[in-house]
Symmetry: C2
Subunit: 142 residues, 2 copies
Amino acid sequence: MLAPMDTRQNAAARPPESHLDLLERPLFAHFATVARDGSPRVNPMWFLWDSDAGVLKLTHTNQRHNYRYLQANPKVALSIVDPNDGYRYLQLRGEVEQIAPDPTGAFYNTLQQRYRGRTTEVKDRDVRVVFTIRPTGFKARG
Amino acid sequence: MLAPMDTRQNAAARPPESHLDLLERPLFAHFATVARDGSPRVNPMWFLWDSDAGVLKLTHTNQRHNYRYLQANPKVALSIVDPNDGYRYLQLRGEVEQIAPDPTGAFYNTLQQRYRGRTTEVKDRDVRVVFTIRPTGFKARG
């Protein structure tokens, strides 16, 4: 008897060791989402790779389009290119598994420190949220 | 009497003058598409902006996933960041309006010249295609 086919789309995936640096370095990730009409969107974003949990986190606000799109369709993809070699890149596919408030701006500060080496007061902390993305697959090239 | 609402999604759009250089320079565009299951994909791609026609062209093959996805859903988006200023970027939304064969590899050679400054024989010219994307909207930042 055949085992039942695993139809889950959210089995966790781990990034390939060869391209882990693209998650660890403070690069921009091009974040793709799907709008309600089925058309894609893509924007450069700051991110943090949480190696222990195996998840990627983004800062966002609950005022932007993507926040609404992701309620309807939590599936996302990110593309990260090595700025020293444009032919070396990593694609992550996954799902937003949690959207949490960031009421003190603490997570935003973490990303400021990572990308700008300093922090400032997070004036829009009342609307700041953290997206936690669980990877379902990776594609690496170069 | 009110004019009927224009519900077309494919009204042409022109890029903002302020960010035209991001289309003219040989940068990578992060190309987002939607797979059959409604999840997005995003990959770095070469591209050519055809200013006269107001369309963006990509080289692809008819052997890759995106070729099949785009038959079902021709809606796409591209994100291009200024490598000299990561906070300056352009998002293009649009639809694939034509997929044409590239039997001599001539268009692939055009992109090789643009990105690598030289051309080589296009060994997979039998499966090479040109995607022509008609923009429906732009978003510019920075």
